[in-house]
């Protein structure tokens, strides 16, 4: 186990598309341990993606229960998402994000309000999850890292409407 250095923007590795996990082996477990140790070493952090530790794998951890203020909605707690895919997304909402790889900056980002995600767990079993609100935002932020996208690419101006505009269906 180890707390590892987090890659900081503008490190070009953060802009690369990560490779799918093929083997659920000891190397994967070691990567997971490092991700967990590093995430929990940064108080208030609610997610981390493997590329942030220069690990070229489609692997993220989310834990909405680590938020500084407890989320209003029930959350899953710690989840390991391997090769995750968003199958469905509904609604749009603006919210605030920051990133371990971009210290001392937060910005408003538009995200889907509810998402359905299919991913493998740490043992390689396929799981399906529903996420909403704050937790859905974390998952979308982390999944972006797997595609080499930073929240900086999605920040909207402070002067635009800062309020969630629900799309009525």
């Amino acid at each position: 186990m180890a707390v590892r250095d987090i890659l900081l923007y503008p490190n070009p590795q953060l802009k690369q598309v990560a490779q799918p996990v093929q083997h659920f082996d000891a190397a994967l477990q070691a990567a997971l341990t490092d991700l967990l140790d590093t995430m929990y070493a940064c108080p208030g952090t609610v997610g981390i993606a493997a590329p942030q530790l220069a690990i070229d794998l489609r692997l993220v951890i989310v834990d909405a229960s680590c938020a500084r203020k407890p989320p209003d909605q029930p959350v899953h707690g710690r989840l390991v998402l391997v090769n995750p895919q968003i199958m469905e997304a509904h609604g749009e909402v603006l919210g605030r994000e920051g990133c371990l790889s971009v210290p001392d900056y937060t910005g408003n980002v538009q995200r889907a309000e509810e998402i359905t995600v299919v991913a493998r767990d740490a043992e390689g079993d396929v799981q399906q999850y529903q996420f909403a609100g704050y937790e859905a935002r974390i998952v979308q932020h982390e999944l972006d890292h797997l595609d080499g996208i930073l929240f900086l690419d999605r920040v909207v101006s402070r002067r635009t409407d800062l309020f969630p505009r629900k799309k009525y269906r």
């Binding site: 940064c42 208030g44 997610g47 919210g95 605030r96 001392d104 309020f163």
Partner: protein
């Protein structure tokens, strides 16, 4: 050791203000920090942190030629701090209503006494000349908690002003 200054520039809006001013600062060896640049009414306003080798007076002289050529007024203050001093807001408050004298003073006094530390306030006058609307977005820290601000907003709503508060739960990941 270069010191930080806050440079304030105001003038009638026209194309090229930002480009010309920042070129003059760059040519004069300045670094730029955080900035707010926006159109207010028919004016263009700039507030920018500038790191500069000399005194406030020398910085003023550095930008004076370009300011005069563009019809801009310049003001320089010595800054107590530099970049990397962000505070994170934890609430957004939105105020909207028919424009009337004293609305900003009334709202901000009530919110200040309820413990709001304002980090960013943006307001617009919308609507029409006959029926102006006042719209204000405030980001800040609820130093005395959200409940105290909610009580203040209740009082504001009695004046017929729409006031909503939204918690900011920042995702860090």
């Amino acid at each position: 050791m270069k010191k930080w200054f806050v440079l304030t520039v105001v003038g009638a809006d026209r194309p090229g203000i930002v480009a010309h001013l920042t070129a003059a600062l760059y040519d004069g060896g300045c670094n730029l920090g955080e900035a707010s640049m926006l159109r207010l009414g028919g004016n263009f306003t700039i507030m920018v942190m500038v790191q500069h080798q000399g005194t406030a007076h020398q910085l003023q002289q550095l930008v004076q030629p370009v300011a005069e050529s563009l019809g801009l007024r310049v003001h320089v203050d010595v800054s107590q701090g530099g970049p990397h001093q962000h505070l994170e807001p934890d609430v957004i408050i939105r105020i909207a209503g028919a424009d009337r004298t004293g609305i900003v003073a009334r709202v901000t006094q009530l919110l200040a006494s309820a413990g709001l530390n304002i980090l960013n306030l943006e307001s617009d006058v919308a609507g029409t000349v006959q029926q102006p609307l006042y719209i204000m977005h405030i980001e800040g820290q609820a130093v005395a908690g959200v409940a105290a601000l909610e009580s203040a907003l209740q009082i504001i709503r009695r004046d017929g002003v729409d006031a909503t508060l939204q918690r900011i739960d920042t995702v860090i990941g």
